[in-house]
Symmetry: C2
Subunit: 317 residues, 2 copies
């Protein structure tokens, strides 16, 4: 019954991309810069700050290059962007992002609806992006993110073998990292543990990140199950914003502050100062007054008994 958990884990804050692209409010660049600054001050060291897509499609994210430029000035910050194609990847390379995420949807129906490409066409894109990256001499890593890995609102069932085939194809095409996402909140902890264990067995050190939505309340239980399977890096959004436009009624991504508390309470060091994170959440709530926010920790605050893992480590050393 005993189980060992990692001593450290990383939360990648994706609110500025996955969160903001799904809501109506267009956040001014100044607020986004304040968000990035606040995230850094709270100890977050990985951010997805935006997406290189045409501004007419996602005007919310038109300032991505400026955000990358700012994030690069912050000590120790590792900056990710989403790129849907080679055109976007060229922008990511030009601005010096540390990592670019290429989204692939394992559900063919979702892939066609959302990306207007089949999953295997996305794999071919990744090969082109890899060639462009290598030709440019840039150090920008390529992450292949396999979405709808547990099912999809359009197609329903998505076969686990197909998910892993596509993940392997991304690696073969030149992705440096691969990730799995429960895009529409269909996963449960048993599914998560099984699929992530298989994925890690295949990708090893190149397995990067677990991305969970809290659409049906299981977001943190799924993150915990992924942790058991060996995942040590998680996407999350402050105040649980975001979600998938093809997932009606979705409650959004796992809330960064709740996930940071889960990990911190278990003694897993994320480097995050949860008090500062909750203060940043208040700022975000002020900027997004017209949006429905999520998450739970902010209501009650930290337990009286909570001690940050680093402080614990020092105390018991």
């Amino acid at each position: 019954m005993t189980h060992s958990f990692p001593s450290q884990a990383v939360i990648r804050e994706v609110g500025l991309r996955d969160g903001l692209q799904s809501i109506r409010t267009i956040l001014p660049t100044a607020s986004k810069l304040a968000w990035i600054r606040g995230a850094h001050a709270a100890g977050l060291r990985e951010l997805e700050v935006g997406s290189f897509v045409p501004a007419r499609l996602l005007p919310q994210l038109a300032d991505t290059a400026e955000l990358v430029a700012f994030a690069r000035t912050l000590p120790g910050m590792f900056t990710s962007v989403l790129v849907p194609n080679l055109r976007g990847a060229q922008d990511a390379l030009a601005c010096g992002a540390d990592l670019m995420i290429v989204p692939l949807s394992a559900s063919h129906a979702h892939s066609l609806a959302n990306l207007r490409k089949t999953p295997d066409e996305v794999v071919a894109d990744v090969a082109r992006i890899r060639a462009a990256r290598d030709a440019s001499g840039a150090k920008t890593l390529i992450e292949g993110g396999v979405g709808t890995a547990f099912g999809c609102t359009l197609q329903g069932h998505v076969d686990a073998d197909e998910v892993l085939r596509l993940m392997q194809a991304l690696l073969d095409a030149g992705a440096d990292r691969v990730s799995l996402a429960d895009t529409v909140g269909y996963a449960d902890p048993a599914m998560v543990r099984e699929l992530f264990a298989r994925a890690i067995a295949i990708a090893g050190e190149r397995f990067w990140c677990g991305h969970f939505h809290d659409t049906r309340g299981l977001g943190l239980a799924n993150a915990y199950a992924a942790l058991e399977a060996g995942v040590t890096r998680f996407d999350a959004c402050l105040a649980g914003i975001g979600g998938c436009p093809h997932a009606p009624g979705a409650s959004g991504n796992v809330a960064t502050e709740d996930l940071a508390y889960l990990l911190g309470s278990m003694g897993i060091d994320t480097g995050i100062d949860i008090g500062r994170l909750l203060a940043l959440r208040e700022d975000v709530a002020g900027w997004l007054r017209d949006e429905t926010l999520h998450g739970t920790l902010w209501r009650a605050g930290l337990p009286k008994t909570f001690a940050a893992p680093r402080a614990n480590a020092a105390a018991t050393a």
Copy 2:
């Protein structure tokens, strides 16, 4: 990495007691009867319907005897009540409840604030209640419920050894069943797995129930961790109402509908028809218009791919 989960689990709906005692609205008896009828129709077979405390203290629960009488008429229903002392236990015996829960708080500070007794005085009460039960010839089971098992907002840290000492003392005093509760939402999955595994090793078949609050968002992750530790019976409240009056800002109990989904998605049969449960949640939301409700599944509904475990079993048999 493989793990076996039980094929069946039980959810005890405690909204009529733990839920209603913590909110302002006084629900009319007719609505409570409709709630009990709806819960039975949705497949729930264990309910905590009220508490035998003086009506001047908890006027919300003054109709407990009438609710027990009604619940006893429903085929297969197992009816629990809370009793804080021998006086309440005599009422529970008189009305023929199937089980009476005697709450004990492992936090001395919480015990004095909430029950005006020390934990060991509660153990002595249980011995008296056991003697009265045995003398009466009634079949009513006695459950000793150890609360604040993971810490407390007043005292802070609660020692796990003290929790287990009190649980053993309850068994020695004649409790037929024992349970553990995270009354204020301080638990995390690692704590849960360790403490519940130790508790089950001590109490064996007499270990009854895990009771989790979602105060800081970890309710379902904790329930999942308890399931891993061998727990197969859980308390929950429809719409996540309830919580502890000494836990300011608490989000309440784990939501029955979300927990039923977690278990059902994992293929664990609870006998619950989640569609009917969500319909009952709508009724409850109508009755409790002025209260803040919780839970997540109701927003998005069941996944397209969801199949109830019994249907699954039939399909794959």
